[in-house]
């Protein structure tokens, strides 16, 4: 019964979102206020229905209703509670339902928290979001219904993929989806502005907090995914340039460009048409990501079984979305832009440079991701583009980006004098070069990449600190003065500092890590960077839904006991799938990583991976700082004040023109 209610709620949600897509938009174009006023309630009802549907699926998981095919395929009576909840998005059907739920959550949030936005504009935004919702709900219902029943009912479920039975991965997809789907809000604002023919600074101000929020979620989501891959996949990598990872990175890159160009649009009224275009691209790339992951065209560590028919549907949806938006853009945008002027040395120029570099970066990732697919589909041979490609391209693009970032954040809007800055920047540059010389020396080895990376990391951190210092130059630093500074400024500084931390983490990890695959007999010792790893043998243990061989490695540093690491080789009983559970001793400056391989010969020897990873935590620390920076930006008082001001203006002018 419950699954049928879920299914029915989903069908109803589709109907409501169809109404919500068409009626308010039509009303806004033909001047019918009653139709326009339908936008908010219908969006909220639709969100409620999707939530009910999602709740029903979760309930089926909680009560082990194996008559539902999806539950039978992804759950099991032995599965712990938390993974029964996260198992809802553990495979294709449920994860699409989560996509739809995320979209309606965003729609709901927009309908509630946008009181400052004029009614007509808001109605159009909600209509565009409802259009997307129609597409996705159709997709779920036609190709991937999670409520499908099976008969006869199996006694036991087939269990969740063991790789997904992990806390990091339990929260990674919702975070990622909040980011991915969040760009739908920016997209809808852009399209609504194109429809309405109104592209002004107020528009940029409405759109900016939503974009920042989506971007922050995406940043955290990607960071979590990387962290998960590091400890769960058992070979200690944190980024593989895997197509699915690239699929989430591309919207992030364009989203980053969008954040910057939006800032310029909001503060100075420039780049508005470009901002619209970026919003369209960010969301299109999110859709492309969904297509790549869900269609089965990818060979990837993430590509779970999938079905070509679904791919065709998303591809069609993708083409329609991009096609329509670009047509609308081509038709409307030329009439809307009015470029403000700015001098060559100004923050606007910095942002322009940042945007150009980011777009080029995104294009290179896109090329590396799609080229093999295109070639394959044309039957011209199968090939893949390895990580060295991305790494080679990233350096010449990333270096100017990091340098420009440092200068850009201390530049003034509109017009600035380089002379004002040269002195301090020169001092900072010298300090950074010193850091580039000292850090590799402390790490014990000179590589040109390590020198460059440390210098750049220091440069970004120091210039960010300088930006803070400039802010307080006249007032003197005090808590009261710090409160006066807008939250978005702190957000920017934290995010930029995050980039600096990230650069240092990546540089030092990739140059100074030690990775060894070893054959070890109990009692054998391996030493790396002063750490003594002693292999103490393997014991058998039993977990809730798996059995495991547990390898014990004791680590000492000089006379000091550091950690006893327990790495497991698990065999999940239902899926009969082996899984390595790495053991990690984390630290701010280094991680010790041990993973158990397989038994070798009859002497009790085992294959053991031992990794020493300096500064690897800084990678995720940097992501976290960027994410928090994004959230801080949203909390800026300016956005609240702005909405109140617009409310007052609207109250004074009740007969807002309704037609375009």
């Amino acid at each position: 019964m419950i699954p049928e209610i879920g299914h029915f709620a989903l069908v109803l949600a589709l109907c409501v979102s169809f109404v919500s897509a068409v009626v308010p938009l039509w009303g806004s174009l033909s001047g019918r206020a009653a139709w326009v006023s339908l936008a908010q309630p219908s969006a909220q009802i639709q969100a409620l229905l999707v939530a009910i549907s999602y709740g029903c699926l979760t309930y089926s998981f909680l009560v082990h209703d194996f008559s539902v095919l999806y539950v039978a395929n992804t759950s099991n009576t032995e599965l712990p509670l938390i993974y029964r909840i996260s198992g809802v998005w553990g495979a294709h059907e449920g994860s699409l339902l989560l996509w739809a739920l995320t979209l309606s959550t965003w729609t709901f949030a927009v309908s509630v928290f946008s009181r400052g936005v004029p009614t007509v504009m808001l109605a159009r935004v909600l209509s565009v979001m409802a259009f997307i919702s129609v597409g996705f709900l159709l997709f779920v219902l036609l190709t991937s219904n999670p409520f499908e029943r099976i008969f006869p009912v199996p006694l036991e479920g087939r269990d969740l993929n063991p790789l997904l039975q992990d806390f990091g991965l339990a929260i990674h997809p919702p975070m990622l989806y909040m980011g991915y789907v969040g760009f739908a809000v920016a997209f809808s604002f852009a399209i609504a502005a194109l429809i309405g023919g109104r592209l002004d600074m107020a528009w940029a101000r409405w759109m900016r907090p939503w974009t920042a929020l989506a971007w922050a979620f995406l940043t955290i989501g990607i960071g979590l995914g990387s962290w998960w891959a590091y400890y769960e996949l058992g070979w200690g990598g944190w980024w593989f340039w895997d197509p699915v990872e690239n699929a989430s990175l591309m919207p992030w890159i364009i989203g980053t460009a969008l954040m910057h160009s939006l800032a310029a649009s909001e503060k100075r009224g420039v780049f508005k048409a470009w901002t619209v275009l970026l919003a369209v691209f960010a969301f299109s790339l999110s859709l492309l990501g969904t297509f790549l992951v869900r269609s089965g065209v990818l060979t990837s560590v993430h590509a779970f079984a999938s079905d070509p028919e679904r791919g065709v549907f998303i591809l069609g949806f993708l083409v329609a979305t991009i096609g329509c938006s670009l047509l609308l853009y081509a038709w409307r945008a030329p009439r809307l832009t009015r470029s403000g002027s700015f001098s060559l040395v100004s923050r606007e120029s910095g942002i322009l440079l940042n945007n150009v570099l980011l777009v080029v970066l995104c294009a290179t990732v896109l090329l590396g991701t799609l080229y093999p697919l295109v070639l394959d589909s044309l039957n011209l041979g199968k090939l893949s583009v390895g990580p060295p490609y991305f790494n080679t391209v990233l350096i010449p693009l990333g270096v100017p980006m990091a340098i420009a970032m440092g200068i850009g954040s201390v530049l003034r809007w509109k017009r600035d004098q380089l002379g004002r800055l040269v002195k301090t920047l020169a001092v900072i540059a010298i300090c950074s070069l010193l850091a580039g010389a000292i850090v590799p020396w402390m790490m014990g080895g000179y590589y040109w990449g390590a020198v460059l990376g440390s210098a750049l990391g220091a440069w970004v951190l120091l210039t960010t600190a300088h930006a803070v210092q400039l802010r307080f130059k006249n007032k003197g630093f005090s808590l009261a003065a710090a409160r006066q500074v807008p939250a978005s400024f702190w957000g920017m500084c934290l995010a930029h500092a995050g980039i600096g931390v990230f650069i240092i983490g990546v540089t030092l990890t990739s140059h100074y890590n030690v990775e060894k695959d070893l054959r070890m007999v109990p009692g054998e010792v391996f030493e790396v960077s002063g750490y003594r790893f002693e292999f103490r043998g393997v014991t058998e243990v039993a977990g809730p839904n798996y059995d495991a061989s547990r390898g014990v490695v004791n680590v000492t540093y000089g006379d000091r006991q550091v950690a006893e690491l327990h790495s497991e080789k698990r065999r999940y009983r239902v899926q009969t799938m082996p899984m390595t559970e790495a053991a990690i001793d984390p630290g701010l400056f280094r991680d010790l990583y041990v993973a158990l391989g397989e038994p070798l010969g009859d002497s009790g020897a085992w294959a053991v991976r031992i990794y020493y990873k300096p500064f690897v935590r800084w990678i995720w620390l940097g992501c976290l700082m960027m994410g928090i920076g994004g959230f801080l930006t949203v909390m800026d008082r300016r956005y609240k004040l702005a909405s109140q001001r617009v409310l007052r203006a609207e109250a004074a002018r009740p007969n807002e023109e309704v037609t375009a």
Partner: protein, 152 residues
């Protein structure tokens, strides 16, 4: 020239130069890092380059995995149309086992042995790398056709 236009021209020139440089670098890196995929049958037929890295994919032949007391392991990869001996030193992925479809990256030696520096097995035990499924299909191995393996 009008100073504003001059400025714009400068900006545009800079951008074109930057993009040009980026594209050159990119294509260069691209060419150097392309890895072709070959099925064992193609390797046996001599289509794969010797001494240049590529990827190979197929099923691990039952009973072919030989592992001594060291980290060296040998096995045979087959797609029904041909089989290639593979050598690898290190720890194999969790899902590596006999009868499983895998993809290996490495170099083909003069003696016809493929020396792998990376072996990938997929995370879903029902999942078959599309290349492997295709290769098996082409070689006419019915039970491992793409449809039967990839579907849920």
């Amino acid at each position: 020239m009008h100073p504003k236009r001059k400025k714009r021209l400068l900006l545009v020139t800079l951008m074109v130069a930057a993009i040009g440089a980026a594209v050159t670098l990119l294509l260069n890196a691209f060419q150097e890092n392309m890895l072709f995929f070959f099925a064992p049958a193609q390797v046996v037929a001599g289509e794969a380059p010797e001494g240049h890295p590529f990827r190979i994919g197929g099923m691990v032949v039952n009973g072919s995995v030989k592992r001594g007391d060291s980290l060296k392991v040998q096995f045979v990869l087959s797609d029904g149309g041909g089989s290639v001996p593979i050598e690898y030193e290190g720890i194999l992925p969790d899902l590596f086992r006999e009868g499983q479809g895998i993809v290996a990256r490495g170099v083909l030696g003069a003696d016809g042995t493929f020396v792998a520096d990376e072996v990938l097995a997929k995370h879903d035990e029902e999942y078959m790398p599309p290349e492997v499924a295709d290769a098996l299909k082409k070689a006419g191995k019915g039970p491992y056709g793409a449809d039967t393996v990839v579907g849920q």
